[in-house]
Amino acid sequence: MKRKFSYTILFLVGIVGLRQSIVVTRKLSPTLSDQTKMINERNIDPAVIFYTESNEALRAEKEVRKKVN
């Protein structure tokens, strides 16, 4: 029981730690910071796995198609 409890605490600390490390890395890296700012401003979701889930991708395709044809 004690072991399970320790693992759970460790897991939760790991999740919070991962989030904190992302925040700190962003502060240290101007590139990452600029990219995150742009992602937030344009409401981009970098986690989507297929083009139909991304409004930016669907808009981009239409714009390119209009310009090329």
Binding site: K4, Y7, T8, F11, I15, L18, R19, I22, V23, T31, L32, D34, Q35, T36, M38, I39, N40, R42, I44, D45, P46, A47, V48, I49, F50, Y51, T52, E53, S54, E56, A57, L58, A60, E61, K62, E63, V64, R65, K67, V68
Partner: protein
């Protein structure tokens, strides 16, 4: 009629597509609008909102949708489970627990900092599942809800509908060359490298990693793993590799392109052809500029369409060659018996919706299919994949997963394949966009 998992998956997929199509496509074409049905379908297409500090923000206005979703998915999958020999009560108990974990995985994937580096629900679902099963163990009642193959196959039938072949010439021939010529070459070369040079024992692990690296990340890994009957540990390995490298490349590749002063369109085409996931491609392309974003997202979209062909080809190759015993002659009827039938649902949905899209005007196609039917089917598909990843995590033994990485071969395979991908894609993009079709580049 003898029900199999593939038949059940196809039927559930068809029912979900029919619900979406009736509300968004067939009735509007007849000028009939049932607002109550539209509201119900919209509410069930639930996606948790973004949150930074307070997780409850993600559930704002989503509670009704989540209840509807569990009723729809629980009902359909519960029916499927009974056809496959499970009791409805046993399945429902396990399914509710798996669904709760899927909500938790979606919640973590909606956190803005995790989202910003591309750590979405897929990764969290697997991590949560592995943690729970390996620390607490699994009670017997929960095991009845772990139907990852049924969830994946049903999700793939829905994904098939989103594979619209009318999109492949969106950017003309240069896009086709970058996405449809380089990608299969990289896929086959990486698979060959894994078999002949690295001597990876499992062919299904090799093809799943090769496909997720060369085609389009998680979605390609799911489709290829299902077509090649890869184990859950193999799929987990491929997805883990893809997500980690995608989050690194999403930052590193545009930074490199900027540093060397590469033209925007060339950079966009390079990003679109090499970064695994669509979301990360859009984020990386946008960092370079609007032209790069448009080219990158369009190339990635054309590459996304390729998974229909790849999944079908892998299923045929596996049935006719890999599953064959040495010296055995496999007849056409034997190939048909062994062939994973859900692939037919996947390909059939793709062909049907590609035809429908061509029949409608561009405005109607966008409104009724892309923003209509797909808004429902892609939400169902995302939840099905999330349920599948939770189930995979819950039934994955950590020691077995660790053994997949022995000798570091999957990592070497991914790295070498990606290096080839980077080189070939850049060469093809430069040739196509700047030497062979410069007029297309100028028009963008």
């Amino acid at each position: 009629m003898r029900w199999t998992e593939d038949k059940v998956a196809i039927l559930i997929g068809v029912i979900i597509l029919l619900i979406g199509s009736t509300v968004y496509l067939f009735l509007p074409l007849l000028d009939v609008y049932i607002l109550e049905a539209l509201d119900l379908v919209r509410a069930a297409s639930v996606k948790l909102g973004k949150w930074e500090v307070n997780p409850l923000e993600a559930f704002e206005m989503k509670w009704v949708g989540l209840i509807l979703l569990i009723i729809i998915l629980g009902g359909l999958l519960g029916w499927g489970a009974t056809r496959l020999g499970d009791s409805l009560l046993d399945f429902t108990k396990g399914f509710i627990a798996v669904f709760m974990l899927a909500i938790l995985a979606n919640l973590l994937g909606s956190q803005v900092d995790f989202k910003s580096i591309g750590f979405g629900y897929a990764l969290w679902a697997i991590i949560l599942g592995i943690f729970i099963s390996n620390v607490f163990g699994l009670p017997d009642w929960l095991k009845h809800g772990l139907k990852h193959e049924l969830f994946i196959k049903t999700g793939l039938v829905l994904l098939g509908a989103e594979v619209l072949f009318g999109k492949i010439l969106a950017i003309g021939l240069p896009g086709l060359f970058v996405a449809w010529v380089v990608t299969p070459i990289v896929l086959v070369a990486t698979f060959w490298f894994g078999q002949r040079i690295l001597k990876i024992r499992s062919k299904s692990l090799n093809i799943t990693i090769s496909a997720d690296m060369s085609v389009c990340g998680v979605s390609a890994a799911i489709a290829t793993a299902a077509a090649s009957k890869a184990t859950k540990e193999e799929l987990t390995t491929a997805i883990g590799l893809s997500m980690i490298f995608t989050s690194v490349m999403m930052v590193a590749l545009p930074a490199f392109i900027k540093a060397v002063g590469m033209p925007e369109i060339l950079g966009g085409a390079w990003i679109g052809g090499t970064i695994d996931a669509t979301g990360a491609v859009v984020a990386a392309g946008a960092f370079l500029g609007d032209k790069a974003l448009n080219v990158a997202a369009t190339i990635k979209m054309i590459q996304n369409i390729l998974i229909g062909v790849i999944a079908f080809a892998v299923a045929v190759y596996w049935t006719a060659k890999v599953d064959k015993k040495e010296g055995e002659k496999v007849s056409v009827s034997e190939i048909w018996t062994r062939f994973p039938k859900f692939i037919l649902g996947f390909v059939g949905a793709s062909i049907l919706f590609s035809i429908l899209q061509q029949m409608l005007s561009p405005e109607n196609s966008e409104m009724m299919i892309e923003q209509g039917v797909f808004s429902f089917s892609k939400s169902m598909r995302s939840w099905l994949f999330c349920l599948a990843f939770v189930s995979i995590g819950l039934s994955t033994n950590f020691k077995e997963l660790k053994s997949q990485f022995s000798g570091g071969k999957p990592l070497i395979l991914y790295l070498c394949g990606q290096l080839l991908n980077l080189g070939l894609t850049l060469l093809m993009a430069w040739l196509m966009f700047y030497k062979v079709f410069p007029e297309i580049t100028n028009s963008i």
